[in-house]
């Protein structure tokens, strides 16, 4: 299968044996096709990748501000630029993911959102928001869906069922859940193969874990009936913990980060994502992922996290050149 991936300019220049400035000159002269995203230039490259099934994960925690939406945006972009076809699903009526990806929530029709899944059991046609990157947007009206879901038989499995129909069209589906344990959140959680749980590195994040683990066990029981092989041998459906909003300057955060290692017995604990208010604001304002804001550390962090998830959680065959 042919896929397109984006090579950062510096990496491409090094591979071609030329200096970065010569590569920039070539771009200016139109001798090489390149795209500018945020702060950086990328060279698109078509590669042959292996055919593989779709994997679906849900960013899940009922705690607000833990970093679900930022992670969905940044990981989605990173994975897409590495050649994976990624579908992002905004399941939050706040529609932050939608807005942060440059789609005005006010322009979003109801049938473009998960309301179509709830009402017609069909996945809406996603908007393309980048190379390899697609989005099912949200709007504030999605909140009505919560009420409609309560009345719908087997509504909790609606998204899962709709996604099964597009199996194979994407490599990864990442669902951005809402900070709640209501029926929309349940539908999002049951959509796929497991939960990616952002844990705010602090007392608030730790406190939220109890309820997350409890519901992850209940969801596992619910999925046992529809996907017995997928959940066999597991007592919950948590696929990874991702420590977020880590502040290296505080003693408390360091202690908590270390203690979070205990969770490795439940599911892989990913490398932490630091608290970066500056780049974060720049990203949301510029409607770009944080790795395009020019903050080198932030970009490295996302790359590291992506490497980890690809190795420990998603386990794809690599898309190679």
């Amino acid at each position: 299968m042919r896929r397109e991936r984006l090579i950062p300019l510096l990496e491409w220049a090094r591979r071609e044996g030329m200096s970065e400035s010569l590569a920039r000159k070539w771009i200016r002269e139109g001798r090489v096709e390149a795209v500018r995203l945020g702060h950086y230039w990328y060279i698109p490259e078509v590669v042959d990748g292996p055919e593989q099934g779709t994997q679906t994960y849900t960013f899940f925690t009922h705690a607000g501000g833990a970093g679900k939406t930022s992670l969905a945006r940044d990981l989605g972009f990173e994975l897409a630029s590495r050649g994976y076809r990624v579908l992002l699903v905004d399941a939050d009526p706040q529609a932050n993911l939608t807005a942060w990806l440059g789609v005005d929530p006010n322009s979003v029709e109801e049938e473009e959102t998960l309301l179509k899944v709830i009402r017609q059991d069909l996945l809406p046609r996603p908007r393309q928001v980048g190379r390899n990157l697609y989005l099912i947007p949200a709007s504030v009206n999605l909140a009505i869906g919560e009420l409609e879901l309560d009345k719908k038989p087997l509504g909790a499995l609606a998204l899962r069922t709709a996604l099964e129909r597009v199996e194979g069209e994407y490599d990864l589906v990442l669902v951005d859940s809402l900070p709640s344990l209501g029926s929309l959140a349940v539908m999002a959680a049951l959509a796929g193969d497991g939960l990616l749980v952002p844990v705010e590195t602090g007392a608030k994040g730790i406190q939220a874990l109890g309820a997350v683990i409890q519901v992850a066990k209940e969801y596992r029981e619910a999925l046992r009936k529809v996907n017995p092989e997928g959940v066999a041998g597991r007592s919950h459906i948590i696929s990874a913990f991702i420590p977020t909003k880590y502040d290296a300057r505080t003693q408390g955060d360091n202690r908590i980060l270390q203690a979070l290692g205990e969770l490795e017995e439940i599911a892989p604990v990913a490398p932490r994502v630091a608290y970066r208010p500056g780049p974060h604001r720049k990203a949301t304002e510029g409607q770009i992922p944080i790795q395009l804001t020019g903050d080198r550390e932030a970009a490295e962090e996302v790359a590291l996290l992506t490497d980890f998830l690809l190795k420990r959680v998603f386990r794809f065959e690599e898309v190679v050149a």
Partner: protein
């Protein structure tokens, strides 16, 4: 250890323990239990294949992510045969001793243990509960029975030990300790052929006890075949009595007279017969006097 770490460790335990009710078969370990034979497993496996395991197994955590089966090894084996990957369970937090007791009680409350297994199971339960060997338990039970019948002075009946014995039988709700001593303990002394028939389920235990009276192996083998063929207990009893009568030499005839006389009530006889009987008796009395 910091409070955070302790809290997280608690969460890890919580996450590892299964929510309600399902565990993969690999996580389960069978433990020693009273059942000796697993019959009709194919039939159970067939029903498990169709309907799944309906009644949860009782298990207890071993602390390493695995669980010991407290009750339900038959269902476990059937599920394995049926190719299931997991079974419904109820996780109980039990010590090993409590688990053994519960396994015994659970197994005894089922219908399909044969009487011999059941007897051994009850004895095991009692020996577990009292901390005595099986022989000591049997001796205690016999002693209790003798006292109850007035054959021995009351030393044991009413003692804490005896009360615990009665408690166990009450919990089982199957039979009283008296009937256990009278009808079930004799099963332990059964000759090999009868025990085998009992374990196969080919023979009711009442028939086995009846046949036990016949000492001659040949005669017993013949009667055993007949009993397996579906002889009623009444018929069997008559045949056993017949064989036993042949086995025993008949009692001397004067003893026979003595037994008849002991049962004699002259007033119930017709007048002529009564006169005649009384005449002979007087003569006999004078002769012996």
């Amino acid at each position: 250890m910091s409070a955070i770490r302790a809290y997280l460790k608690g969460l890890v335990e919580e996450a590892k323990s299964p929510a309600t009710s399902h565990l993969p078969l690999e996580a389960l370990l069978p433990s020693p239990q009273p059942r000796r034979r697993f019959e009709n497993l194919e039939a159970l496996a067939e029903s498990v294949r169709e309907k799944g395991v309906l009644q949860p197994l009782l298990v207890r955590p071993l602390g390493d992510g695995r669980y010991a089966i407290v009750a339900g090894e038959r269902r476990y084996r059937a599920a394995k045969m049926a190719g299931l990957t997991e079974v419904p369970v109820r996780v109980l937090d039990l010590s090993e001793k409590e688990a053994r007791l519960l396994a015994l009680v659970e197994n005894l409350q089922r219908e399909d243990l044969n009487p011999y297994e059941e007897t051994l199971g009850v004895l095991e339960l009692l020996s577990e509960e009292l901390g005595k060997t099986r022989e000591e338990v049997v001796a205690l039970l016999h002693r209790m029975q003798n006292e109850r019948r007035g054959k021995a002075t009351h030393n044991v009946v009413g003692s804490p030990e005896a009360q615990r014995v009665e408690g166990v039988f009450q919990a089982l709700g199957r039979m009283t300790w008296e009937s256990f001593v009278q009808h079930r303990l004799p099963l332990l002394g059964l000759p090999e052929d009868l025990r085998a028939a009992l374990e196969e389920g080919a023979l009711p235990y009442t028939a086995a006890l009846e046949l036990k009276k016949v000492k001659d192996p040949e005669a017993r083998a013949r009667l055993l075949e007949e009993a397996k063929g579906g002889l009623s207990l009444r018929e069997l009893r008559a045949k056993v009595r017949e064989v036993m009568a042949k086995e025993k030499s008949p009692p001397p005839w004067h003893k026979e007279v003595a037994t008849r006389l002991a049962r004699l009530d002259p007033e119930s006889l017709p007048p002529e017969k009564r006169q005649e009987v009384e005449r002979y008796l007087k003569a006999l009395l004078e002769l012996l006097g």
